[in-house]
Symmetry: C2
Subunit: 194 residues, 2 copies
């Protein structure tokens, strides 16, 4: 007997990796099914269509990232500034481990599908707002403790820093080289520190 | 009689706009030909294949951007800092005029094709390096005149600032809203000023 829940997650995880590596429009449902060994009928039991699948893949990826960000940024054994540095460094190392060839699912799909799918671009927008808020909370703590500059609001810094990271990630993907990410790490924290 | 040169440029310009709006993999050669009214045979007289066409579209877009950046950043009627501000503001206004629904061809294709086409990702990488160098030249002038912080090298600031802009552009495309671009303009120049 097939385990329904297990199968949904398998398909979503395979979709996440294929979309990250080769884009949304370039990845067919057939390819995802082939990679998971799941029959076409089951796919349409789980998902209305490819866009619904893309939306659910983004939701799963985003939830995982959310947990990861919260774990990193709630680690009170480090100061807020050090927590932020460790969080970004760990993302840089993760991307380096993939030769910077994939990037962030949400960023990739926001860029590729921004003008095409309202459903997916609105989802991307929501996830980015959540992440920026989590980063802003940590920045605010650092502003209160005097580690982080407070001439710009925490939420503005949170959005700006994370947008900068995403731009650097895109640049790293173009060159398949982590140098733009290490430059981000150097310059962004020079900028943030009080 | 068809004007060969005129036709190449028409196809490239149509390709640039379609790729910006809906991505590379999502745009077929047939669609580009239909939009320009050029027969398929002529396309293959001009281009070896779709990748070659994508590469030449990027080259044309990049050349146009280069001229634009040089014109803006060589305007010595303004100080280097004011030139940079005006340059980014004009790009923000241009994207606002398109409801932020398209973005930068090079950034979009770097993100979408980074893991797929060596030819296109290496081209994106080259164009970004050129632009960062032009921006760095202006930053260096501003460092010499004492307007721009000089604790970080001009070339590092040039890359970082332009990567931040691209991340903000991606974010603006997700929300089809220019707010991330205006936030970039506010925060980046607060960061750059001495």
């Amino acid at each position: 007997m097939m385990n329904r829940k297990h199968n949904i997650e398998d398909i979503l995880d395979k979709g996440i990796e294929l979309f990250r590596a080769q884009g949304y429009n370039n990845t067919g449902i057939e390819e995802i099914l082939k990679a998971t060994g799941i029959p076409k009928g089951s796919f349409y039991n789980f998902f209305r269509n490819k866009e619904d699948f893309g939306d659910k893949a983004m939701a799963r990826y985003s939830e995982r990232q959310n947990t990861y960000i919260e774990t990193m940024l709630n680690d009170t054994s480090l100061s807020p500034f050090e927590r932020l540095k460790k969080f970004y460094l760990s993302m840089i190392q993760f991307n380096e481990g993939e030769s910077c060839s994939k990037g962030c699912l949400i960023g990739n799909l926001a860029q590729e599908m921004g003008g095409q799918s309202q459903l997916m671009s609105q989802a991307a927008n929501r996830y980015y707002n959540n992440w920026a808020q989590l980063i802003a909370n940590c920045i605010e703590e650092g502003q209160e403790s005097g580690e982080i500059r407070d001439d710009i609001s925490a939420i503005e810094l949170g959005h700006y820093i994370h947008n900068s990271f995403n731009g650097s990630l895109m640049r790293a993907k173009a060159g398949q080289d982590a140098a733009p990410l290490h430059l981000f790490q150097k310059v962004a924290f020079e900028f943030l520190k009080k």
